[in-house]
């Protein structure tokens, strides 16, 4: 029996899906900013800070990179309350995504920092700048320029990974799709639509990031 796809049945739920989409976008945006801030701090500390800080950061990075995001999410949402910390789904989602992106960007930015030629650092130090001033004015700029593509890719990966937050009932696009599917049982159609929405979002984000990169770094 050939099944006829019934996309029309999704129409009444357009507002639900749109809300989910917006939530996903906002979630990604906020987590990206926070995550990169964490990454910058982490990478800087790892390279220039005390040894023990470096070790802690490395442990954090390896832990996040070698465990699935969904497990991290469950740990934060289900596990932390047992230790006394109560979180709403939305907060838990933001936190998990920030921590996740933070770890990956720490690694990426660290690679960028190490790629800056030693001569530049030496020049800065010879001009009596402290290593933190050198970091801020000379290194980070170049490091970001170099790893911007890798960072952009990671942002998109994290955005696609955000679909998982639906599992703790955070009301993202996937949650909305689940909701619609439970109402009209058009599972395949709604998930296809959602998948394509994510795809469009990914492509848009990629273009936006590329354009942003050109503006920020004024391609020298």
């Amino acid at each position: 029996m050939i099944y006829k796809l019934q996309f029309a049945e999704l129409l009444p739920y357009w507002d639900v899906l749109l809300q989910g989409l917006i939530f996903t976008v906002v979630l990604t945006l906020v987590s990206t900013v926070a995550g990169i801030a964490v990454g910058t701090a982490g990478a800087s500390l790892r390279t220039f800070g005390p040894k023990w800080a470096g070790a802690v950061i490395m442990a954090y990075v390896e832990l996040i990179r070698n465990t699935p995001f969904i497990v991290q999410l469950f740990f934060i949402f289900f596990g932390l309350p047992a230790a006394g910390v109560m979180l709403s789904e939305t907060t838990a989602a933001f936190l998990a995504m920030t921590i996740n992106l933070g770890a990956y960007s720490t690694e990426i930015i660290r690679a960028g920092i190490q790629a800056v030629p030693k001569g530049h650092v030496e020049a800065g130090v010879s001009l009596a700048m402290t290593k933190w001033e050198v970091l801020r004015h000379i290194i980070l700029n170049q490091a970001f320029r170099k790893v911007y593509p890798a960072l952009s890719s990671q942002i998109i990966i994290v955005m696609l990974g955000s679909a998982v937050v639906s599992q703790i009932s955070a009301q993202d696009l996937t949650y909305a799709a689940n909701f619609v599917a439970s109402r009209n049982f058009r599972n395949f159609e709604v998930y296809l639509l959602a998948a394509l929405a994510y795809l469009l979002l990914a492509m848009l984000t990629r273009s936006l990031l590329r354009g942003l990169g050109r503006v920020i770094f004024k391609a020298k």
Binding site: P68, F75, Y191
Partner: protein
């Protein structure tokens, strides 16, 4: 209410871990085979094949793995076929893996100097012969590190199969959490087991890459 001791929890998790490992292996191997076919298509120079491969990669890399799992799970059912979570998970992960592996491998193939292609062309080798005897032997050396690195992503990806009901490590964790109400302990153990699976792979990949850079 059933009382679960620490060892009850751990042993149940470890049993489920077998399925994580099996699913990972199947996805990785099958994904690799499909990825290799796609690789030949992608670098063949035949336009329609290249476009198809590009679209395929764009779809599987540009949509959430969770969506792909849902689509396979509900999509196959539309054809009237009985689909188990196992089947949907295997298929989704295979195709997802193949998209990423083929891109990684394409990068390696494209890093081979053009002169190698020209020299082997001039010796009258066909495209397939060039790939087999000249390009792939060189590209595979470069490809080992990132491929091993990606295997970590595959293991982590299997965790999503829990959402469509496949009982692997994460699903076992969820079930145990529901039974014991000890999420901190359960999910810590789950994370630890994943770490034990993934960290050695990450470490290997890093070591191989390091050795390759020294050899150049």
């Amino acid at each position: 209410m059933l009382q679960f001791s620490f060892w009850d929890i751990l042993s149940n998790l470890l049993i489920a871990t077998q399925w994580t490992i099996i699913l990972s292996l199947i996805a990785f191997v099958c994904g690799g085979i499909v990825g290799l076919i796609l690789l030949f298509m992608r670098v063949s120079g035949v336009r329609p094949l290249e476009w198809f491969t590009k679209a395929y990669i764009e779809f599987f890399q540009g949509t959430p793995l969770l969506m792909q799992l849902f689509l396979f799970f509900f999509g196959i059912a539309l054809f009237g076929v009985e689909v188990s979570p196992w089947m949907a998970a295997t298929m989704a992960l295979t195709f997802w893996t193949s998209a990423f592996l083929t891109e990684i491998w394409r990068g390696c193939v494209e890093s081979i100097p053009k002169g190698q292609w020209e020299a082997s062309t001039s010796l009258a080798l066909t495209f397939v012969e060039q790939m087999r005897y000249v390009i792939l032997p060189q590209a595979s050396r470069i490809a080992i590190a990132p491929t091993v690195g990606f295997s970590v992503q595959v293991v982590k990806g299997t965790a999503l199969a829990s959402i469509i009901g496949f009982v692997e490590l994460t699903k076992a964790g969820t079930m145990l959490n529901n039974a014991t109400f000890r999420p901190f302990l359960v999910y810590s153990l789950v994370a630890l087991i994943y770490f034990c699976l993934c960290f050695p792979l990450s470490w290997c990949a890093k070591k191989i890459e390091g050795r390759l850079n020294v050899a150049r």
